[in-house]
Amino acid sequence: MVQYILHRLLTTIPTLLGISFLVFLTMRATPGDPARVMLGERASEEALTQLRRELGLDRPWYIQYGRFLKGVLQGDLGRSIKTREKISVELKNRFPATVELAVSSMVLAATVGILAGVISSTRRYSLLDYSTMVGALAGVSMPVFWLGLLLILVFSVNLGWFPVSGRLSPQLSLRTITHFYLLDSLLTWNLPALKDALWHLVLPAIALGTIPMSIIARMTRSSMLEVLRQEFIQTAYAKGLPESRVVYKHALCNALIPIITVIGLQLGLLLGGAILTETIFSWPGVGRWLVLAVQARDFPAVQGGAMLLATTFVLVNLLVDLLYRYVDPRIKG
């Protein structure tokens, strides 16, 4: 196991290097002069020269890449062209928002998805089964951004149950320690802020969680059906165990491996979906920040945001892979 972990960690290094190179290329591959693209057509020659020098665009590409890589390793991603703020600081403040949203969505998706799949599999071909599966099918095809808008339309605009956007109502104050608002409000025992932060989280989490929820529900159903057919389940029933115990203990535990795989795969994909969800709900995370940076052609900021999201994606997948092996000892590297 230890050997496998080391092996996986080592093979992750070239992937991360590749990512950094691709991200680095975004600025170099821009048609025309990147400095002019960023500063606009009317920029003065001095400003252009200064920006080129600042970004190292006047040096050969390998020196530029070396500098970029060194910066990444030291956590220094340069300054945003637009705001002149340090990119690393901006990312540090926004990343917890993205993680909080992604994790909440996944918790929601896994809980509801597994429950729906289990119920579906035990009531096979019932109305409940059909409606769950039709719902799951629709969920998989649902564009995140449309679902987000519909949720706002129904639950914020028409019913007024949930806030339209943001993470916290402006009239509330919260002392930030970790920048995870749920955690911070618990740490400072600020219950109004906790309730408010949760309220803000509901709609974005549903929007982002719907696709994984549907996929998890479908996978749980098919995996459960597979297990429920096996002899040890009949033995458990024959021993006189109550149905709930057979289903949730004997069957679900054995059906869990493919479900965990799917959850892991989806966790990484959530980071992509977060880009759209954050934009709809004006969620102050890395995804929305990245989109704004692309629109403003703020390349250093784009590089920083992309580097962070892609690295997280790789590390999450690595973690899931290792966990997977831990959960199912039958799989050996």
Binding site: T15, I19, V291, A306
Partner: protein
Amino acid sequence: MKGGTGEREKGETSGALALRLSHSPSLQSWYRLRKNKAALGGGTLLALFLVSALLAPYLAPHDPLEQDLYGRLKPPVWDLRGSREHLLGTDDFGRDILSRILYGARISLQVGLISVGISLGFGGLLGILAGYYRGVLDQVIMRGMDMLLAFPSILLAILIVAVLGPSLFNAMIAIGVVGIPEYARIVRASVLSEGSREYVQAARSLGAQDLRIIFHTLLPNCFAPILVQATLGFATAIVEAAGLSFLGLGAQPPTPEWGAMLNQARALILRAWWVITFPGLAIFLSVLGLNLLGDGLRDALDPRLRE
């Protein structure tokens, strides 16, 4: 599969029976596909999408770009304030939403064809090279593909658009490039598994050249997984292009692209529900249709994969 092959099921015509008992694998797949209600539903949705796309100029009651500043934000026909002139209402420039959605189908069809074309063309070629020649070339290609897969797809698409500049055409290229690794992997896997079969060795021992073996012998036998992936990939391409346009990085106004329509409609969410509902519904139904058909095709072409 229920029932023996000998007994005739209720209402089955002799033609259908002959088809079911036929030994031709493609006819058998067709029969399995036709029996799959979900796939049939998907096919119907897809047909609707194709008809809208191809016949948009004849079906659309208005020019999709024509503005009517006196008829802005008209609700759909069943609303008291609606009119039969605009069945699904109008947007904030007084443009007819139904017409824009019909023309939007054209754009989505283009997006799907071009993006899947790029992914399939380049991905297929790389997959063939990797699977057929193996060795160092295989390693180099597949590690490159792993690198692309190390990005969440929409992030990679956004990066490519960031480089090329926001436009519908660049969005199609970006989505096409993002899809390449998936096709490369599928084609490589098919080429690897088929490549060791006897019929390929037979072709080789008959003195066939590499190109002939690849295009005449190998590829036709890799058709099934590629078709399934292309159908599902078409759906992904539509959603991703709409997503990029929604972020303002794809189609630009006043193009009647579904995602761009939603992006413009965001500001109207408090006033006009129909402007947000219908373009999204169009995306949803097209994607649902393609997904259903793709799943059905997978089951029909390879019964072993059936859940």
